[in-house]
């Protein structure tokens, strides 16, 4: 039986790359292909079997699909394998964003960039979750590239919000006030500090009762500490909640409770939370950087600058202009339809089928 086995640097079930790989496995198996998951680091997930990459023995008619997002020993292992390689490029964060905060993590990213350049020319196919990433692949020397959107179940994310968490989140919310939200690891390139600064300006100028929730695990302890200290210094401890990682149900509740999602990242290779927010009917205000404009299309208020006053004013418009708000929500729902799991799965399946057909 023909096989397309998948390899990841690290498998974590709630991580966008991990979830993408699990959906990809379903698609591949649905095509009648053998498909197992292998990784360097493994965080167990119920119902998903992931093996250490060193257990892979080869044999048969197999393609190896590597999900590239950082530097990893797995890439070095794959470079030495004789099987044809497929790269699924999820983007490597440019090291300059991380360097000041976490030199060791930056070194990993530098290696990731090198590994992209080493693997791309040898890959039979380079898949990318966005056009932004596809250009990266092309620049790295990949001869055959295609965009296949990220495989994410946006409906499931909204289906079952945790009721208890939702009640807690709505408690104390003032009528006419708006709750801000951003979802993503606390990391320098995601610029939660800019969100906090804009939020501080918004509270001062527009709505002293607004609240902000930053959902996500700290990726850099130094950055998370500086962010917490900034919140304290600005006197926002009671208004800003750094939640840390949350369950799927709690995440659904956060989207349900939010009045606006504000994304001010300096770099994103795709940014799934933008779509999750749109699926939940939350209007999005975002800074136009990386693949963000491509992900949101016309369905977000996209800003060319992210100084606190501009962002605060943009959120004020969204909060206060009911027609604008309704238009953004409607446009968001339309946008989400373009990235639905069924459609994305079809695109992924088509790319793989083309590859196997030669």
């Amino acid at each position: 039986m023909t096989a397309v086995h998948q390899f990841l640097a690290t498998f974590a079930p709630h991580d966008a790359v991990g979830a993408h790989a699990v959906h990809a496995q379903r698609v591949l198996r649905g095509m009648g292909l053998e498909s197992d998951l292998y990784a360097g680091g493994i965080r167990p997930a119920p119902g998903v079997e992931v093996r250490p990459y060193s257990d892979y023995r080869g044999g048969g008619d197999a393609h190896l699909l590597y999900h590239l997002s950082t530097g990893s020993e797995v890439a070095e292992f794959l470079r030495r394998r004789p099987e044809p390689l497929v790269l699924d490029h999820h983007n490597v964060t440019p090291p300059r964003f991380v360097e000041r905060w976490d030199p060791a993590a930056a070194a990993e990213l530098v290696v990731g960039e090198c590994q992209l350049r080493a693997l791309a020319p040898a890959a039979e196919l380079g898949l990318a979750v966005s056009e932004w990433n596809r250009r990266d692949l092309e620049d790295a020397g990949c001869r055959r590239t295609a965009v296949a959107p990220v495989l994410v179940d946006l409906d499931a994310a909204q289906a079952e919000p945790d009721r208890r968490v939702l009640e807690e989140l709505l408690q104390g919310k003032r009528a006419g006030s708006i709750d801000w939200l951003f979802v993503g690891r606390l990391a320098p390139h995601k610029c939660q500090h800019d969100v906090v600064a804009a939020f501080a300006a918004y509270r001062r100028l527009h709505d002293p009762h607004a609240r902000l929730r930053l959902v996500g695990a700290p990726a850099s302890p130094a950055y998370a500490a500086a962010l917490g200290a900034t919140v304290e210094r600005l006197g926002l401890a009671g208004a800003v909640d750094l939640t840390g990682p949350v369950s799927a149900g709690a995440l659904g509740a956060h989207y349900r409770a939010a009045g606006v999602l504000v994304c001010l990242s300096d770099h994103e290779g795709f940014c799934v939370p933008l779509l999750e927010a749109m699926a939940a009917g939350v209007p999005v205000v975002a800074y136009a950087a990386g693949a963000v404009p491509e992900t949101v299309g016309d369905a977000a208020l996209l800003l060319p600058a992210k100084d606190p006053l501009t962002v605060a004013e943009a959120v004020h418009r969204v909060a206060g202009d009911e027609r604008l708000r309704a238009a953004l929500v409607a446009a968001g729902r339309e946008r989400v339809a373009a990235f639905g799991l069924a459609r994305a799965a079809k695109a992924f399946e088509a790319r793989i089928a083309e590859l196997l057909a030669g």
Binding site: R100, V111, E113, A197, A201, A225, L302, D307, A327
Partner: protein, 278 residues
């Protein structure tokens, strides 16, 4: 549906409103405060800005602003803030001036101390870095791997190595700044490889271009485990720490060099990675 949103017009209106607000001095002060807030807690950079930049930052932060904005959306709160400010403002200003002066003096003292350290380092004939590989130990090891095409052996980082290699009959030259060949071989060590990771990737590429075809690039450095064990946590956080040998192999391969094995370890916790230009 998205067609009903006139993005251009919306952004223009937002821009106009922001300009209008900026005319208010208290809003401009708020922006400055927000800019400074996060910078205050950002770590001392591992790279990009040096000692002088850090001191400038400290000096900027040493000024205590004793005139907070008394704005509030509620009239009563604004009046109360104004009242408190008028009542105790002179006392706060009196303390703030002293604190600012003390902090500024302290910053200047650190700057002077830095200059003395620079002078002392410059005056030392043989500065010793505990993680710089001992030249006498590494010279014969390197002599075995740098033989190749004609041309001098460039040594970036560790001056003592040039002397030690010269003593055993190898034409070795010290390289300061970016290596510009052509060299028969190039050895990178000490300060040359203590740079941020992105700079090291660029260094590997420049090194690859600086050696003649068939020539070798050798990286001699401390193993990160040895570095972390012997250095204080502050030094480890502030410094551009060494890379693992495996990472160097990846960077050198990315620069177009072929692996040529590792030289036998010369000292505890140190390694030498060797790569050859095809």
């Amino acid at each position: 549906m998205s067609g009903v949103i006139d993005h251009r017009r919306l952004l223009d209106e937002i821009d106009a409103e922001v300009r209008r607000r900026r005319a208010d001095p208290s809003v401009a002060a708020l922006e400055r405060d927000l800019d400074a807030s996060f910078a205050r807690f950002a770590p001392a950079p591992a790279a990009g800005t040096g000692f002088e930049a850090m001191l400038t930052r400290a000096q900027d932060a040493s000024f205590v602003d004793a005139s907070p904005a008394v704005v509030s959306s509620r009239t009563a709160v604004r009046r109360l803030k104004g009242l408190v400010h008028r009542a105790v403002g002179w006392e706060v200003r009196h303390v703030a001036v002293q604190v600012s002066a003390f902090a500024a003096t302290l910053t200047e003292a650190v700057r002077l101390l830095g200059r003395r350290v620079d002078a002392l380092e410059a005056a030392r004939a043989d500065p010793v870095d505990p993680f710089e590989p001992p030249a006498w130990e590494w010279a014969p090891v390197l002599a075995g791997v740098v033989a190749g095409p004609p041309g001098p052996v460039g040594l970036a980082g560790c001056g003592a190595l040039a002397e030690a290699l010269g003593a055993i009959g190898i034409d070795a030259v010290e390289v300061s700044g970016d290596p510009a060949g052509p060299f028969g071989a190039l050895v990178l060590s000490g300060p040359a490889v203590r740079r941020p990771p992105a700079a090291l990737a660029a260094l590997a590429r420049r090194a690859a271009a600086a050696v003649a075809p068939g020539g070798t690039v050798v990286v001699v450095d401390a193993d990160p485990a040895a570095w972390a064990a012997a250095r204080s946590p502050v030094e480890v956080d502030l410094g551009a720490r060494p890379l693992h040998a495996a990472t160097w192999r990846v960077l050198l391969a990315d620069a177009g060099l072929e692996p040529a094995g590792d030289a036998p370890a010369g000292g505890a916790g140190a390694y030498a990675v060797v790569a050859r230009r095809p």
